[in-house]
């Protein structure tokens, strides 16, 4: 493709159509299309939202620490718990997964970048726009108050006349665009840009799980978009999709929301499953136990995740037959999840495990997610669920899944790949403090919620009276939440101190963990062009297999050092996609359109202009910087070791803008 471009070299662009140059300074961060920088942007932004969502969590726990709490008041409390849920789901866990996916996925498949680098930048900026827009609701003093699943008709104009639910409906539509764009981009990347020889079943499990997640996003996000769109029409244009007075059935919202919402649960958890499937073998010094089972169980979860949504609605009156069907389907989704847990344990079993911080977090995921899974099984019994649902028991359950499963896995990933991204390790000592404080605080906070729920404490109540037996465990949980906060603080301190130390300490080396997959072929931190040369893949864990062989007794012996195996990152003149101004401009238009729908349509005009400029500029800027380097063998005709498998399954050219 790039060849064609060269042949038909277009007229030299002028003015705004010149693509920005250089890769330093703030301007570079705004215009970058480098998947690694975008990954870092995703991660940093999500961690800021994590601080906001965490602050909201602490406020919730302060309010509930004592009976008849007066820290927040009912109205503020409702807004705080709504925004806590929305923030943690849409602005923290999802983008943190996107951070890892962006940074690592091209590296794990041996690619130069993602398939559509500018779209990748667009995803990030649109996500940021959506996140800022949602949190603008705090600044205008009218944050959403309908709960993160926003059941109709409580969110309609009659019952929620403020602007809060508009921010919810429009903000999530914006972040949904980010997820969809990113999903298509990453699917195309995985399917088309794998290194020569990397068949689908030689892909790392992390890449596999991210691929499954992107398909889930691709099909789930449109469903919530429909729901949000209908809500927007109800609220802003007087439609009656969810208005029972006009004959609407409020359960429509619930179905739409949970057809998205349940796959969403797997969207949140599978990236973490992928991360620890990389971490556990590395630190156990054994290959992943049952790779095909791990991949297929992930795919099975992806499929079965579509058939269980109504278990969120067991008490909403969908009828006994539907409840029975979804009760049974929910039970069986426990099976592939159980397979994963047992396979991780089997990977560790018989290993020689180094319990570094990433491994601590990974084992944390296995145990904490087990608890969340088991309480999930107790929910699947529809009759039992009539007692449990909408109590703190369910709050405990999903925090064990999302915090114990997703977030701890993401922390495992932070510690594991930090040297890959920043060129130095995070401190082990502070890392262990981070882990233990978090896991103890987590169990102190959410463990007692099982008890509170079974004692009948409803979720989403802003206060409780003494006399229901809720006092002790609520206070206990509130103390626990501050222990978690302390754990997170250790992480922040660790980031700062390890960066300081790294200035004087020797570099981390090529292979700090004795790792297994393709991303470790590059130096740390990863150079802008990723790989100097294509990597010919012949097995799963290619990197490890280049380092180790077997002697005649079948024992593992070292055959090469990391220095011998790794590329030195010295390639010059590599052809990289050029930066672009237009994604950020296009993204900036979206919140203005949303403001317009809430306040005055004039904002829509402004937003429309920005979007139009963004698209127009995007189309008319040159596909490449014509002055950019084309020296290196990027043109797809150089293959050191051509392979039969290569021809159809891989694409070797550099991605174009």
């Amino acid at each position: 493709m790039s060849k064609t471009m060269e042949i038909e070299a277009p007229a030299r662009p002028i003015g705004v159509y010149t693509r920005p140059k250089g890769n330093t300074g703030w301007r570079d961060w705004i215009t970058t299309v480098d998947h690694k920088k975008i990954g870092i942007l995703y991660g940093a932004t999500a961690m800021i939202f994590f601080a906001i969502g965490g602050l909201e969590a602490l406020l919730i726990r302060l309010q509930l620490a004592t009976p008849n709490g007066t820290v927040l008041g009912a109205d503020t409390y409702n807004r705080v718990f709504t925004m806590h849920g929305v923030t943690m789901v849409f602005l923290v866990i999802m983008p943190l997964a996107a951070a890892f996916a962006n940074y690592l996925l091209p590296l794990q498949i041996g690619a130069r970048d993602v398939a559509f680098p500018r779209l990748n930048a667009l995803s990030f900026w649109v996500f940021l726009a959506g996140g800022l827009f949602l949190n603008m609701a705090w600044i205008v003093g009218d944050a959403p108050d309908g709960g993160w699943f926003a059941y109709a008709p409580n969110t309609g104009m009659i019952f929620s006349p403020g602007k809060g639910m508009d921010y919810y409906a429009l903000g999530l539509q914006i972040t949904g665009i980010a997820s969809l764009v990113s999903a298509m981009n990453l699917i195309v990347t995985v399917l088309n840009m794998r290194a020569p020889g990397m068949t689908l079943f030689k892909m790392p499990v992390f890449t596999w799980m991210i691929l499954v997640v992107q398909f889930l996003l691709l099909f789930a996000v449109p469903v919530i978009t429909v729901a949000l769109f209908l809500l927007m029409f109800d609220r802003n244009f007087g439609a009656n999709f969810f208005n029972p007075e006009m004959g609407a059935d409020p359960l429509l919202w619930q179905h739409l929301f949970w057809i998205f919402g349940h796959p969403e649960v797997y969207i949140l958890i599978l990236p973490s499953f992928g991360i620890i499937s990389e971490v556990i073998p590395t630190f156990s010094r054994k290959p992943l136990f049952g790779y095909p089972f791990m991949v297929f169980s992930g795919i099975a979860i992806g499929f079965m995740g579509w058939g269980v949504w109504a278990h969120h609605m067991f008490v909403s009156g969908i009828g006994p037959i539907s409840v029975a069907a979804f009760s049974v389907s929910t039970m069986f989704i426990a099976v592939p999840t159980g397979v994963k847990i047992l396979n991780w344990l089997a990977t560790m079993w018989g290993g020689k495990i180094r319990f570094n911080t990433p491994m601590l977090f990974a084992t944390g995921v296995v145990s904490m997610f087990t608890i969340g899974g088991l309480s999930g099984v107790t929910h699947s019994l529809a009759p039992a669920d009539t007692q449990q649902t909408d109590t703190y028991y369910i709050v405990a359950h999903f925090h064990y899944v999302i915090f114990g499963g997703s977030l701890l896995g993401i922390f495992a990933g932070f510690y594991f790949w930090w040297p890959k991204v920043f060129g130095h390790l995070l401190g082990e000592k502070l890392g262990k403090w981070n882990f233990w404080l978090m896991i103890i605080g987590f169990n102190m906070t959410f463990g007692p919620m099982h008890i509170l729920g079974l004692q009948g404490m409803s979720r989403r109540i802003d206060s409780y009276s003494p006399g229901f037996g809720f006092e002790f465990w609520n206070m206990f949980a509130s103390i626990g939440s501050f222990v978690i906060a302390l754990g997170v603080l250790m992480f922040v301190i660790n980031i700062i101190t390890s960066a300081r130390k790294a200035r004087t300490a020797p570099p981390v080396g090529l292979d700090p963990w004795d790792a297994r997959s393709l991303e470790w072929f590059t130096p740390n931190p990863t150079p802008a062009h990723n790989f100097d040369d294509d990597i010919q893949v012949s097995s799963l864990d290619e990197f490890w297999h280049r380092k180790y062989g077997e002697d005649e007794n079948g024992r593992v012996v070292r055959v090469a050092t990391a220095e011998e195996v790794c590329q030195d990152g010295s390639a010059t003149d590599t052809h990289l996609p050029s930066p672009s101004y237009w994604p950020v401009i296009l993204a900036a238009g979206l919140p203005f359109v949303a403001f317009g729908l809430i306040y005055t349509l004039w904002f829509c005009v402004l937003g429309g202009i920005l979007i139009f400029m963004g698209i127009y500029g995007w189309i008319f800027e040159p596909v490449d910087d014509p002055d950019g380097p084309h020296g290196h063998h990027d043109d797809g005709d150089v293959h050191d070791e051509p392979s039969d498998e290569v021809s159809t399954e891989t694409a070797e050219e550099a991605p174009v803008g």
Binding site: L342, A346, K352, T363, A382, G447, Q455, S458, G467, G469
Partner: protein, 401 residues
């Protein structure tokens, strides 16, 4: 201090339940946890409990296995750095993996069978008629009560001719009922009571944990449900579907009484309000008719009146004094000594939104009526004529904090 819940848990021997989240405690006795889901007080809730108990046990066993294995891994397979040798490179074990795919599937299938039996049982009906006397006429009543949720209180409507032919399709305009009361549902013991759960605004959820699981009140729908109490007593409940501002302050009780006492209760409730006689109450009635009666119905005064509210209903006050709580079940109407909780009632009449968050200006919840202090005294005097005070033991048992 060890809470009672923990001690009773340790005694109860439900150690397996420790599985779920490193629990330290599960059950509380009714005295200190009136909403306890693991202390069933009727056959329906007991059937749920006996379904979930063994599953807690299974979950507990799995928990012990997984955490046991993790502990072994933690101690035994830690790298002691004694050699540089790699452990045996096992790539998988097909038969083991098939085993732990099929094994759990079989366990789940067994659980599924019991779940389905229990589930269809829970959704079936097994009511028998109760003979009651209404206005002196004996009638065979198919015991079903209409429950209507609205922001932020519950209404209970009794139709002793049965619900056949009663149009429940519009919860805001329901046909007149024999008895309309609020926040405290009164049922006879020993009978399955059918419920038809409706909503006048947003989704609520009706839940009396000791008697059954919960069922949502969805506007535009009629949700069938049921409860049954074995022994006379007071069973607490809490709205469990987030319903807006005062969701936390939407509480309810079910008072189960002997069939004979239930008849007495009917006889009382079926009467219209008696005419006020003392001077303060008469003045209060005038104020009530001018202000309160725009929303609140008192049978015999403004029967069939609607309310100037989104939900088109406010609690029927004909027998207010026979109830022991008010304002969505969150305030005691009586002091522990049986006297009127005058302070709270007056505060409520003075400025209701200050006592319980509501959107009075959005016609959701009782507004501040702007009554003078003497008017408040008069209205209280009038309200005291509405219904007879219940027995002291009821006052004690229904007390809320």
């Amino acid at each position: 201090m060890i809470p009672k819940s923990l001690r009773s848990f340790l005694r109860s021997g439900r150690f397996a339940a420790l599985a779920i989240g490193g629990l330290a405690a599960l059950t509380g006795c009714a005295a200190d946890a009136p909403l306890d889901t693991l202390a069933p007080k009727g056959p329906i809730s007991r059937s749920i409990d006996s379904l979930s108990d063994p599953v807690f046990l299974v979950a507990g066993v799995v928990f012990v296995i997984i955490f046991g294995a993790t502990a072994v891994i933690w101690w035994k397979f830690r790298d002691d750095h004694s050699t540089d040798e790699f452990p045996e490179q096992v790539h998988g074990h097909f038969r083991a993996e098939i085993g732990w795919t099929i094994g759990p599937a079989v366990i789940m299938a067994v659980i599924a069978v019991f779940t389905l039996i229990s589930h269809f049982d829970l959704n079936g009906q097994d009511r028998t008629d109760i003979v009651v006397s209404v206005d002196g006429e004996r009638t065979s009543w198919d015991p079903e009560v209409v429950i209507v949720g609205q922001q932020w209180w519950w209404e209970f409507r009794y139709y002793f001719d049965g619900l056949e032919g009663v149009d429940l399709s519009d919860a805001r305009h329901l046909p007149p009922a024999d008895i309309v009361t609020a926040n405290q549902l009164v049922i006879p013991t020993g009978s399955e009571i059918g419920l038809k759960i409706l909503s006048r605004d947003v989704i609520h959820s009706y839940w009396i944990p000791a008697l059954n699981g919960k069922r949502d009140a969805v506007p535009g729908r009629v949700a069938p449900w049921k409860i049954e109490a074995e022994t006379p007593g007071v069973y607490f409940g809490q709205c469990t579907e987030f319903c807006g501002l005062s969701h936390a302050r939407m509480q309810m009780q079910t008072i189960a009484v002997d069939p004979a006492d239930f008849q007495t209760w009917i006889d009382e409730q079926i009467q219209p309000a008696v005419e006020a006689t003392n001077a303060a109450a008469v003045r209060g009635q005038t104020v009530f008719e001018g202000q309160c009666a725009r929303c609140h119905v008192v049978n015999g005064m403004n029967d069939g009146g609607g309310a100037d509210l989104v939900a088109n209903a406010a609690p029927n006050l004909t027998h207010l004094m026979s109830r022991t709580t008010f304002a969505g079940g969150i305030f005691n109407l009586y002091e522990p000594d049986g006297s009127l909780n005058r302070t709270q009632l007056e505060a409520w009449l003075r400025n209701a939104p200050a006592e319980k968050p509501a959107y009075a200006e959005g016609r959701r919840g009782m507004p501040a009526m702007g009554l003078s202090e003497s008017q408040i005294d008069d209205v209280v005097a009038y309200l005291q004529t509405l219904g007879a005070a219940p027995d002291m033991d009821v006052i004690a048992a229904t007390e809320v904090d």
